[in-house]
Symmetry: C2
DNA sequence: CTTGCGTCTGTAGTTGCTACAGACGCTAGC
DNA sequence: GCTAGCGTCTGTAGCAACTACAGACGCAAG
Protein backbone atom coordinates (compact mmCIF):
# COMPACT_ATOMS: atom_id res chain seq x y z
CA UNK A 1 0.00 0.00 0.00
CA UNK A 2 2.83 2.36 0.71
CA UNK A 3 4.25 1.44 -2.67
CA UNK A 4 1.07 2.59 -4.33
CA UNK A 5 1.06 5.89 -2.43
CA UNK A 6 4.66 6.33 -3.49
CA UNK A 7 3.79 5.70 -7.13
CA UNK A 8 0.80 8.04 -6.99
CA UNK A 9 2.68 10.94 -5.47
CA UNK A 10 6.21 10.43 -6.72
CA UNK A 11 7.54 10.41 -3.18
CA UNK A 12 10.06 7.77 -2.18
CA UNK A 13 8.79 5.09 0.19
CA UNK A 14 11.47 5.76 2.78
CA UNK A 15 10.66 9.45 2.56
CA UNK A 16 6.97 8.77 3.18
CA UNK A 17 7.80 6.91 6.37
CA UNK A 18 10.16 9.71 7.30
CA UNK A 19 7.36 12.27 6.89
CA UNK A 20 5.17 10.16 9.15
CA UNK A 21 7.87 10.08 11.81
CA UNK A 22 8.32 13.83 11.37
CA UNK A 23 4.64 14.34 12.08
CA UNK A 24 3.75 15.69 8.65
CA UNK A 25 1.75 12.73 7.43
CA UNK A 26 -0.72 11.25 9.94
CA UNK A 27 -0.12 7.59 10.80
CA UNK A 28 -2.53 5.60 8.65
CA UNK A 29 -4.56 2.65 9.92
CA UNK A 30 -2.87 -0.72 9.55
CA UNK A 31 -3.96 -4.00 8.04
CA UNK A 32 -4.13 -7.03 10.34
CA UNK A 33 -0.56 -7.78 9.35
CA UNK A 34 0.62 -4.28 10.22
CA UNK A 35 0.92 -2.78 6.74
CA UNK A 36 0.02 0.88 6.26
CA UNK A 37 -3.36 1.37 4.59
CA UNK A 38 -3.66 4.82 3.04
CA UNK A 39 -6.69 6.62 1.65
CA UNK A 40 -7.36 9.53 -0.69
CA UNK A 41 -6.78 12.07 2.04
CA UNK A 42 -3.25 10.80 2.49
CA UNK A 43 -2.66 11.18 -1.22
CA UNK A 44 -3.83 14.78 -1.10
CA UNK A 45 -1.79 15.59 1.94
CA UNK A 46 1.38 14.01 0.65
CA UNK A 47 0.95 15.79 -2.65
CA UNK A 48 0.65 19.05 -0.73
CA UNK A 49 3.87 18.22 1.08
CA UNK A 50 5.70 17.36 -2.11
CA UNK A 51 4.65 20.58 -3.81
CA UNK A 52 5.63 22.63 -0.82
CA UNK A 53 9.02 20.93 -0.74
CA UNK A 54 9.47 21.68 -4.43
CA UNK A 55 9.09 25.35 -3.49
CA UNK A 56 11.84 24.86 -0.95
CA UNK A 57 9.76 25.17 2.21
CA UNK A 58 11.40 23.53 5.23
CA UNK A 59 9.43 20.68 6.74
CA UNK A 60 8.64 22.74 9.83
CA UNK A 61 6.99 25.39 7.66
CA UNK A 62 5.09 22.74 5.75
CA UNK A 63 3.72 21.52 9.06
CA UNK A 64 2.50 25.04 9.70
CA UNK A 65 0.98 25.33 6.25
CA UNK A 66 -0.83 22.04 6.68
CA UNK A 67 -2.29 23.19 9.95
CA UNK A 68 -3.35 26.47 8.32
CA UNK A 69 -5.15 24.67 5.56
CA UNK A 70 -8.47 26.32 6.44
CA UNK A 71 -9.89 28.85 4.06
CA UNK A 72 -10.45 31.79 6.38
CA UNK A 73 -8.71 35.11 5.92
CA UNK A 74 -6.47 34.58 8.91
CA UNK A 75 -4.93 31.35 7.75
CA UNK A 76 -4.53 32.92 4.33
CA UNK A 77 -2.66 35.77 5.94
CA UNK A 78 -0.34 33.46 7.83
CA UNK A 79 0.21 31.37 4.75
CA UNK A 80 1.27 34.47 2.93
CA UNK A 81 3.60 35.45 5.75
CA UNK A 82 5.28 32.04 5.68
CA UNK A 83 5.61 32.25 1.91
CA UNK A 84 7.09 35.72 2.02
CA UNK A 85 9.61 34.52 4.54
CA UNK A 86 10.52 31.66 2.24
CA UNK A 87 10.76 34.04 -0.70
CA UNK A 88 13.12 36.22 1.29
CA UNK A 89 15.21 33.18 2.22
CA UNK A 90 15.43 32.16 -1.42
CA UNK A 91 16.45 35.66 -2.46
CA UNK A 92 19.11 35.72 0.24
CA UNK A 93 20.56 32.50 -1.04
CA UNK A 94 20.53 33.72 -4.60
CA UNK A 95 22.35 36.88 -3.54
CA UNK A 96 24.99 34.87 -1.67
CA UNK A 97 25.44 32.50 -4.56
CA UNK A 98 25.83 35.33 -7.02
CA UNK A 99 28.74 36.63 -5.00
CA UNK A 100 30.33 33.20 -5.19
CA UNK A 101 29.57 32.90 -8.88
CA UNK A 102 31.24 36.20 -9.57
CA UNK A 103 34.34 35.32 -7.57
CA UNK A 104 34.64 31.87 -9.13
CA UNK A 105 34.10 33.22 -12.61
CA UNK A 106 36.86 35.76 -12.17
CA UNK A 107 39.28 33.28 -10.71
CA UNK A 108 38.72 30.63 -13.33
CA UNK A 109 38.94 33.20 -16.09
CA UNK A 110 42.24 34.46 -14.73
CA UNK A 111 43.65 30.94 -14.62
CA UNK A 112 45.37 29.81 -17.82
CA UNK A 113 47.36 26.69 -16.99
CA UNK A 114 50.76 26.52 -18.60
CA UNK A 115 50.87 30.22 -19.33
CA UNK A 116 51.54 31.47 -15.85
CA UNK A 117 54.21 30.95 -13.24
CA UNK A 118 51.77 30.66 -10.41
CA UNK A 119 48.17 29.51 -10.34
CA UNK A 120 46.04 32.57 -9.59
CA UNK A 121 43.35 30.47 -7.96
CA UNK A 122 45.73 28.89 -5.48
CA UNK A 123 47.33 32.28 -4.90
CA UNK A 124 43.95 33.81 -4.15
CA UNK A 125 43.11 31.07 -1.68
CA UNK A 126 46.52 31.24 -0.04
CA UNK A 127 46.71 34.98 0.47
CA UNK A 128 43.67 36.86 -0.56
CA UNK A 129 41.66 39.98 0.01
CA UNK A 130 39.47 39.67 3.06
CA UNK A 131 35.99 40.63 1.85
CA UNK A 132 34.71 42.80 4.68
CA UNK A 133 34.48 41.61 8.30
CA UNK A 134 32.34 38.68 7.15
CA UNK A 135 28.60 38.51 6.72
CA UNK A 136 28.46 37.73 3.07
CA UNK A 137 28.25 34.37 1.50
CA UNK A 138 27.29 31.05 2.99
CA UNK A 139 25.07 28.96 0.80
CA UNK A 140 26.81 26.86 -1.81
CA UNK A 141 27.72 23.79 0.13
CA UNK A 142 27.45 25.59 3.43
CA UNK A 143 24.29 25.51 5.46
CA UNK A 144 21.87 28.38 5.38
CA UNK A 145 21.68 31.00 8.07
CA UNK A 146 19.00 29.99 10.51
CA UNK A 147 15.78 31.85 10.14
CA UNK A 148 14.55 33.53 13.29
CA UNK A 149 11.16 32.93 14.95
CA UNK B 1 46.63 27.44 21.62
CA UNK B 2 43.63 26.36 19.64
CA UNK B 3 41.88 29.49 20.88
CA UNK B 4 44.60 31.61 19.35
CA UNK B 5 44.41 29.79 16.02
CA UNK B 6 40.68 30.32 16.10
CA UNK B 7 41.11 34.04 16.76
CA UNK B 8 43.74 34.39 14.04
CA UNK B 9 41.71 32.66 11.36
CA UNK B 10 38.15 33.37 12.39
CA UNK B 11 37.35 29.67 12.42
CA UNK B 12 35.38 28.26 15.34
CA UNK B 13 37.32 26.05 17.74
CA UNK B 14 34.98 23.11 17.31
CA UNK B 15 35.22 23.51 13.57
CA UNK B 16 39.02 23.43 13.73
CA UNK B 17 38.91 20.11 15.56
CA UNK B 18 36.35 18.91 13.06
CA UNK B 19 38.68 19.77 10.17
CA UNK B 20 41.42 17.83 11.89
CA UNK B 21 39.16 14.80 12.23
CA UNK B 22 38.14 15.25 8.59
CA UNK B 23 41.78 15.09 7.57
CA UNK B 24 42.00 18.63 6.24
CA UNK B 25 44.20 20.05 8.95
CA UNK B 26 47.17 17.90 9.99
CA UNK B 27 47.20 16.89 13.67
CA UNK B 28 49.53 19.32 15.41
CA UNK B 29 52.10 18.29 18.00
CA UNK B 30 50.86 18.35 21.58
CA UNK B 31 52.17 19.94 24.74
CA UNK B 32 53.04 17.66 27.63
CA UNK B 33 49.50 18.12 28.87
CA UNK B 34 48.00 17.15 25.56
CA UNK B 35 47.03 20.58 24.23
CA UNK B 36 47.34 21.24 20.51
CA UNK B 37 50.36 23.38 19.63
CA UNK B 38 49.96 25.03 16.24
CA UNK B 39 52.49 26.89 14.10
CA UNK B 40 52.41 29.35 11.22
CA UNK B 41 51.88 26.62 8.68
CA UNK B 42 48.66 25.65 10.39
CA UNK B 43 47.49 29.23 10.24
CA UNK B 44 48.17 29.36 6.51
CA UNK B 45 46.49 26.07 5.87
CA UNK B 46 43.41 26.86 7.90
CA UNK B 47 43.13 30.23 6.20
CA UNK B 48 43.23 28.45 2.87
CA UNK B 49 40.45 26.18 4.04
CA UNK B 50 38.33 29.05 5.27
CA UNK B 51 38.68 30.95 2.02
CA UNK B 52 37.84 27.88 0.00
CA UNK B 53 34.78 27.28 2.14
CA UNK B 54 33.71 30.88 1.62
CA UNK B 55 33.68 30.10 -2.08
CA UNK B 56 31.42 27.17 -1.36
CA UNK B 57 33.87 24.37 -2.07
CA UNK B 58 32.92 21.10 -0.36
CA UNK B 59 35.46 19.82 2.12
CA UNK B 60 36.36 16.93 -0.16
CA UNK B 61 37.31 19.37 -2.90
CA UNK B 62 39.28 21.47 -0.46
CA UNK B 63 41.25 18.37 0.41
CA UNK B 64 42.03 17.99 -3.26
CA UNK B 65 43.01 21.63 -3.59
CA UNK B 66 45.32 21.39 -0.60
CA UNK B 67 47.02 18.37 -2.08
CA UNK B 68 47.38 20.23 -5.39
CA UNK B 69 49.01 23.18 -3.75
CA UNK B 70 52.14 22.81 -5.85
CA UNK B 71 52.83 25.44 -8.45
CA UNK B 72 53.31 23.31 -11.55
CA UNK B 73 51.06 23.59 -14.58
CA UNK B 74 49.36 20.30 -13.89
CA UNK B 75 48.15 21.16 -10.43
CA UNK B 76 47.05 24.53 -11.78
CA UNK B 77 45.03 22.73 -14.41
CA UNK B 78 43.36 20.47 -11.89
CA UNK B 79 42.69 23.39 -9.62
CA UNK B 80 40.95 25.12 -12.47
CA UNK B 81 38.91 22.01 -13.24
CA UNK B 82 37.75 21.77 -9.64
CA UNK B 83 36.89 25.45 -9.64
CA UNK B 84 34.94 25.21 -12.88
CA UNK B 85 33.00 22.33 -11.45
CA UNK B 86 32.20 24.41 -8.39
CA UNK B 87 31.22 27.35 -10.58
CA UNK B 88 28.87 25.10 -12.51
CA UNK B 89 27.38 23.80 -9.26
CA UNK B 90 26.81 27.34 -8.04
CA UNK B 91 25.15 28.31 -11.30
CA UNK B 92 22.92 25.26 -11.14
CA UNK B 93 21.78 26.24 -7.70
CA UNK B 94 21.14 29.79 -8.74
CA UNK B 95 19.05 28.58 -11.66
CA UNK B 96 17.02 26.31 -9.40
CA UNK B 97 16.52 29.04 -6.87
CA UNK B 98 15.37 31.47 -9.51
CA UNK B 99 12.62 29.09 -10.47
CA UNK B 100 11.54 28.96 -6.84
CA UNK B 101 11.82 32.70 -6.49
CA UNK B 102 9.61 33.25 -9.50
CA UNK B 103 6.97 30.81 -8.29
CA UNK B 104 6.95 32.21 -4.77
CA UNK B 105 6.82 35.78 -6.03
CA UNK B 106 3.80 35.00 -8.18
CA UNK B 107 1.99 33.15 -5.45
CA UNK B 108 2.56 35.76 -2.78
CA UNK B 109 1.59 38.54 -5.18
CA UNK B 110 -1.64 36.75 -6.03
CA UNK B 111 -2.51 36.36 -2.37
CA UNK B 112 -4.47 39.25 -0.88
CA UNK B 113 -5.84 38.08 2.45
CA UNK B 114 -9.40 39.17 3.15
CA UNK B 115 -10.12 39.99 -0.45
CA UNK B 116 -10.46 36.48 -1.76
CA UNK B 117 -12.66 33.52 -0.99
CA UNK B 118 -9.85 31.06 -1.15
CA UNK B 119 -6.14 31.43 -0.51
CA UNK B 120 -4.38 31.08 -3.87
CA UNK B 121 -1.23 29.81 -2.23
CA UNK B 122 -3.00 26.98 -0.45
CA UNK B 123 -4.96 26.27 -3.61
CA UNK B 124 -1.77 26.04 -5.62
CA UNK B 125 -0.23 23.64 -3.13
CA UNK B 126 -3.36 21.55 -2.91
CA UNK B 127 -4.05 21.10 -6.59
CA UNK B 128 -1.47 22.60 -8.84
CA UNK B 129 0.10 22.39 -12.24
CA UNK B 130 2.71 19.68 -12.40
CA UNK B 131 5.82 21.39 -13.78
CA UNK B 132 7.09 18.85 -16.28
CA UNK B 133 7.89 15.22 -15.37
CA UNK B 134 10.26 16.54 -12.70
CA UNK B 135 13.91 17.41 -13.03
CA UNK B 136 13.73 21.06 -12.17
CA UNK B 137 14.32 22.66 -8.85
CA UNK B 138 15.85 21.28 -5.69
CA UNK B 139 18.04 23.64 -3.74
CA UNK B 140 16.31 25.94 -1.28
CA UNK B 141 16.13 23.79 1.79
CA UNK B 142 16.58 20.65 -0.22
CA UNK B 143 19.95 19.10 -0.72
CA UNK B 144 21.85 19.62 -3.90
CA UNK B 145 21.97 17.09 -6.66
CA UNK B 146 25.05 15.01 -6.15
CA UNK B 147 27.88 15.91 -8.41
CA UNK B 148 29.26 13.00 -10.34
CA UNK B 149 32.97 12.53 -9.74
C1' DC C 1 47.37 25.52 46.48
C1' DT C 2 43.34 27.08 44.79
C1' DT C 3 40.72 29.62 41.30
C1' DG C 4 39.18 29.85 36.88
C1' DC C 5 39.67 29.91 32.18
C1' DG C 6 41.11 27.11 28.36
C1' DT C 7 41.20 22.68 26.39
C1' DC C 8 40.53 17.80 26.01
C1' DT C 9 37.59 13.59 24.26
C1' DG C 10 33.44 11.71 23.00
C1' DT C 11 28.90 11.97 21.80
C1' DA C 12 24.53 13.85 20.10
C1' DG C 13 21.93 17.20 17.60
C1' DT C 14 20.83 19.82 13.16
C1' DT C 15 18.06 19.13 7.95
C1' DG C 16 15.98 16.07 4.73
C1' DC C 17 16.49 12.45 3.35
C1' DT C 18 18.60 7.61 1.76
C1' DA C 19 20.17 2.90 2.55
C1' DC C 20 20.66 -0.85 4.57
C1' DA C 21 19.67 -5.57 7.72
C1' DG C 22 16.80 -8.86 9.25
C1' DA C 23 12.13 -10.09 10.04
C1' DC C 24 7.55 -10.43 8.55
C1' DG C 25 2.88 -9.94 5.32
C1' DC C 26 0.67 -11.31 1.37
C1' DT C 27 -0.58 -13.44 -2.87
C1' DA C 28 0.03 -16.59 -6.93
C1' DG C 29 1.02 -20.97 -8.49
C1' DC C 30 1.48 -25.86 -7.66
C1' DG D 1 -1.62 -26.60 2.18
C1' DC D 2 2.77 -24.78 1.05
C1' DT D 3 6.27 -22.37 -0.81
C1' DA D 4 8.43 -18.73 -3.73
C1' DG D 5 9.11 -14.13 -4.04
C1' DC D 6 7.90 -9.61 -3.76
C1' DG D 7 6.41 -5.97 -0.71
C1' DT D 8 6.65 -4.03 3.82
C1' DC D 9 7.91 -3.68 8.55
C1' DT D 10 11.16 -1.60 12.38
C1' DG D 11 15.37 0.18 13.68
C1' DT D 12 19.60 1.97 12.81
C1' DA D 13 23.36 4.32 10.40
C1' DG D 14 25.03 7.32 6.91
C1' DC D 15 25.46 11.91 4.08
C1' DA D 16 27.43 17.45 4.64
C1' DA D 17 29.39 20.56 7.60
C1' DC D 18 29.08 21.86 11.44
C1' DT D 19 27.50 23.05 16.46
C1' DA D 20 26.82 22.03 21.27
C1' DC D 21 27.11 19.96 25.02
C1' DA D 22 29.17 16.97 29.47
C1' DG D 23 32.63 15.81 32.32
C1' DA D 24 37.50 15.62 32.91
C1' DC D 25 41.82 17.74 32.67
C1' DG D 26 45.95 21.59 31.68
C1' DC D 27 47.95 25.60 33.02
C1' DA D 28 49.17 30.12 34.77
C1' DA D 29 48.27 33.77 38.29
C1' DG D 30 47.51 35.09 42.91
Amino acid sequence: MIGRLSALTGVNIETIRYYERAGLLPPPPRTRGGLRAYDEEHVRRLTFIRRSRSLGFPLADIGTLLRLDGSDAQSCERTKAVSLRQLAAVRDKIASLRVLEQALAELTAACRPGRQERCPIIDALTSAPEPAPDQTARAATGRATRRGS
